[in-house]
């Protein structure tokens, strides 16, 4: 029989406000096995923990139940407390009487009653607990960064600078991401390329960093410290190690009219291309959907003009297997499609553009060489209307837009408006806004400068309709402060399109068994306390894949993710989770159900000799769990038809005891 101690926490008024903690402690005193019961204001405080330690020693407790907040919050804390007092940490059970009890009940009587029941369940379970000892596993001292935008670049540099090898996998032909497409950056207005490209060069030259560009992750196995990853290197039909990036092939390629993705289709590129002058790696890539040689064997010009002999039309996709200790997701974002918002006539007029297209139009390396010209007729626009929140903050999210605020649009729109007025003072600039959101260092000052010094006309209200007519865009909008409907004849309309996670994120999350929210942003392990870690051990988050972010925030998060990775890779061995599955081989009939559902590949089978009652032996196939790989998810235990599979720390008997205690 266990000797159980019960500790009821008030959590200030968080619990004590709707749960009579004294009554709970009193009621649980008479439960089977309980030899000590107490309550205290903050069990997690030093004084509270000391109280637990003393009670363990004084009353020779063999198990404890803490009635407090969610185990996600403080289970680890109380396990450490128990360990410090010489009790096996897995002899600690938490009864969550806060999130699932005091917070959801308003009435003291029901709250108290439920808290007592939850306490009884935890006591019933701890009575069946057995001490557990975690195993250990080695750590592969190499990190994988998925995505080569500013988030991935910064994370990779920080990890590599700490001395650990890093691989970057980028699906585009070059690293650089969205930042490489930007012109200037708010609120300091330094040029994006000037601050990004040196970092890209650092990545290329770092002896600890390998870049897999034009590549994608296709398979992930293993677990924290020991990931086994397959990377598909798409054939670019150019030998990366031979190409010098001279550009002769790009110049001579006869297929010149392929929409240039880097300039968002606003100009053309050839079938063989280098995305931009500072690309890393600076290597040409052949677009197989556009190249005549690859499509029907006619042409071969690039091969003839290549002095280095780098062109290889027979190149095949290549698969690379590599082991990693940690994986960082940095898959970034994209602006949403404007197809569903054609009240703004994006599909009807070339002069209705997105803000990212505007970035390219004002970028010196862009399709108009940095001159702000209308895409339709190349004329200088004299009246520009910026529309904020297009697709952001939409309640009807599934159909049209996104429910969240995209966060970066207020600031980049202020930047666009300000720069336009600075360069072209003869241009009228209107910004239609719902709210101007500027919570960042020097952000509000920046926005106010756009209004006060540069004369940008900020109008509180939305645009309702854009009608292209002649060479004008007739903008119909509301000015809520003046209580008027405005009609503006504009030359250019710029839509601040909502941003969404890159489409590659969802399949990647499945491969990594990392969780996502309904918007396909990766979920962090704790929104405040573990913001750069995924709940899946060994998977870390960097940049906009976790939520909309500007560059300063992305870089901070990238550094934070790197430091978490470094902390992990610095260890020689990892302590595992002892709450793993184990199979009772006497009951197992080798049906394979468990192996089929195991997401971690932790279950294998072996033939084993069993002694039969009649003294003969029989060979049977039985399941064996690799405790280093098992994550304790429990899928196998509920699948097993014979009840052979059980989970340590969460045994079927223990769960049933909890249910019985609740139903009593």
């Amino acid at each position: 029989m266990q000797r159980v101690g019960v500790f009821v926490c008030w959590c200030g008024t968080n619990i004590a406000g709707t749960v009579d903690v004294v009554a709970v402690a009193e009621a649980l005193k008479s439960e089977p096995g309980v030899v000590f019961s107490a309550n205290y204001q903050y069990m997690c405080s030093q004084a509270g923990q000391d109280m637990i330690k003393e009670a363990i020693k004084e009353h020779k407790l063999t198990g404890i139940v803490v009635c407090s907040c969610s185990p996600r919050m403080h289970e680890a804390t109380f396990r450490k407390t128990a360990a410090a007092a010489g009790l096996n940490p897995y002899m600690v059970e938490i009864a969550n009487i806060r999130e699932q009890c005091s917070w959801v009940h308003k009435d003291m009587l029901t709250g108290t009653e439920k808290a007592i029941i939850l306490g009884k369940a935890a006591i019933a379970k701890v009575n069946l607990n057995a001490p557990l000892t975690p195993g250990e596993s080695p750590v592969t001292k190499r990190a994988l960064v998925i995505g080569g935008g500013i988030a991935g670049i910064q994370t990779a540099l920080d990890i590599a600078d700490a001395g650990f090898p890093v691989d970057i996998v980028e699906k585009k032909p070059t690293i650089g991401g969205k930042m490489a497409q930007l012109d200037k950056t708010f609120p300091t207005l330094d040029c994006a390329a000037c601050i990004l490209t040196p970092k890209m060069v650092d990545v290329a030259q770092h002896d600890k960093i390998r870049i897999f560009s034009y590549s994608e992750v296709t398979e992930v196995n293993g677990f924290v410290g020991n990931f086994d990853v397959t990377i598909k290197k798409n054939a670019r039909y150019v030998k990366e190690d031979v190409c010098t990036g001279c550009g002769a092939c790009v110049e001579k390629c006869p297929m010149k009219r392929i929409p240039n993705e880097f300039n968002l289709g606003m100009d053309n590129r050839p079938a063989i291309y280098i995305p931009f002058a500072q690309a890393v790696p600076k290597v040409a890539t052949i677009d197989p959907n556009a190249c005549n040689m690859l499509k029907n064997g006619k042409c071969g010009v690039c091969s003839k003009v290549c002095a280095a002999g780098a062109i290889d039309y027979t190149q095949k996709d290549e698969y690379i297997n590599e082991k990693y200790g940690a994986i960082v997701v940095a898959t970034g974002f994209n602006p949403i499609s404007m197809d569903k918002f054609d009240e703004y006539a994006y599909n009807q007029s070339k002069d209705v553009i997105t803000s990212l297209e505007f970035e390219r139009l004002t970028n010196a390396a862009g399709p108009s060489a940095g001159k702000l010209l209308r895409p339709s007729d190349g004329k200088h626009p004299h009246t520009i209307v910026f529309v904020q929140c297009v697709g952001s903050r939409c309640e009807s999210c599934a159909e049209k837009g996104k429910e969240y605020c995209s966060k970066i649009c207020c600031m980049y729109t202020a930047k666009h408006a300000m720069l336009t007025r600075d360069k072209y003072p003869d241009t009228e600039v209107y910004v239609f806004y719902i709210d101007v959101r500027t919570p960042g260092k020097n952000f509000d000052e920046f926005y106010r400068r756009a209004v006060e010094e540069y004369g940008v006309k900020y109008v509180k209200g939305m645009v309702g309709k854009v009608v292209p007519e002649g060479d004008k865009l007739k903008v119909q909008a509301s000015d809520l402060i003046a209580n008027k409907q405005l009609h503006i004849d504009a030359d250019l309309v710029v839509l601040a399109a909502a941003i969404e996670p890159d489409k590659s994120a969802r399949p990647l999350a499945t491969m990594l068994t990392a969780s996502m929210d309904t918007n396909d942003f990766f979920t962090e392990a704790h929104p405040k306390l573990r913001p750069v870690e995924s709940p899946t051990a060994g998977v870390f988050l960097s940049g906009a894949c976790q939520g909309p972010k500007d560059i300063p925030e992305t870089v901070s998060q990238a550094g934070a993710a790197a430091s978490k990775v470094i902390g992990l890779l610095a260890k020689d061995k990892l302590t595992g989770n002892p709450c793993v599955a184990n199979s009772n081989e006497l009951m197992c009939n080798g049906c394979s159900s468990c192996a089929n559902v195991c997401p971690y590949g932790a279950i294998t089978y072996e033939d084993k000799e069993f002694r039969m009652p009649d003294r003969t032996t029989k060979v049977r196939r039985v399941a064996v769990v690799n405790p280093a790989v098992c994550q304790g998810c429990g899928a196998c235990t509920v699948t097993c038809p014979s009840g052979a599979m059980d989970l340590k720390g969460f045994a079927n008997l223990q769960i049933m005891a909890e249910v019985d205690a609740i139903c009593k």
Binding site: D339, F341, D342, E343, Q348, E399, K465, E469
Partner: protein, 263 residues
């Protein structure tokens, strides 16, 4: 193919063309329109109030009639279509409302929104197919620049109508192209002509209608087609200097059954 057909008040009076050409064209396409017996006017506009039942009963009777015959219900007039589809949607999604209605109509058995409602254009797209239509064209309208005018009732509210993208619709343009003509796309094609406001403030209807005509013309339109008698009335009355015709008339012309009708 046999379908139930709800013509509506105006199609038997001021918009006889819309009705007649709908019949003739359907026949040419192998579709028999079976007019609902004793149909009653839909009311012209859908009342969005949650507590109105009586104003929606005529639509429900028509829907039930088609349902009992296990036929889809076809409408041509934009207004009828809007009212009947919205009413059907309410029958499908608002059980309290459906319950009230079924108590009203206790003698006729229950109805819960089972009937499929198609606008004539949707019938052409989804049941006949624009490719089939294309093959049946006799008089191609090649070279004609035609602007489709959707107005408000065909597309909105989109959550109910589900006819096309409400901001960038293509069904009428695809229809025009199937007949061999060029479709003129212009932004005002899904803006309101003023509707019933023309009894109260004709100036307001005029302003709206003019803006639509101007926008269509600025984009090169030589003709405007519509499915709505009220749209046609407002556009014609307010100074359209290009022809405004019902889409069924254009269809009949292309299918070579228009002369037939006049004869």
């Amino acid at each position: 193919m046999k379908v139930s057909y709800f013509p509506g008040c105006t199609l038997k009076n001021k918009a006889k063309d819309l009705d007649l050409y709908a019949y003739k064209s359907a026949e040419a396409l192998g579709v028999t329109l079976e007019e609902i017996e004793n149909w009653q006017c839909c009311g012209g506009v859908f009342t969005t109030a949650n507590d109105e039942v009586a104003t929606k009963l005529s639509s429900i009777r028509a829907l039930k009639y088609a349902g009992d015959k296990e036929q889809p219900l076809i409408t041509v007039c934009s207004a009828c279509h809007n009212v009947i589809k919205q009413t059907n949607y309410e029958m499908q999604t608002n059980s309290q409302f459906a319950d009230k209605v079924n108590r009203y109509m206790a003698n006729d058995g229950t109805y819960n929104g089972e009937t499929q409602v198609y606008h004539y254009l949707e019938m052409l797209r989804d049941l006949v197919g624009f490719d089939t239509l294309k093959e049946k064209v006799v008089n191609t309208l090649k070279g004609k620049k035609i602007a489709a005018y959707y107005g408000c009732l065909l597309l909105r509210p989109n959550s109910v109508m589900r006819m096309d993208d409400p901001e960038n619709p293509t069904i009428m343009e695809d229809f025009i192209r199937a007949l061999g003509a060029d479709a003129v796309v212009y932004a005002k094609r899904n803006e309101c002509c003023g509707g019933y406001i023309s009894v109260e403030s004709p100036e307001s209807a005029k302003r709206n209608s003019n803006a639509i005509i101007e926008n269509a013309k600025a984009n090169g339109a030589e003709m405007i087609i519509t499915a709505c008698p009220l749209c046609k009335y407002n556009l014609v009355k307010n100074g359209a200097d290009i022809p405004v015709v019902y889409f069924t008339e254009l269809l009949a012309e292309a299918l070579g059954v228009k002369e037939d009708t006049n004869a």
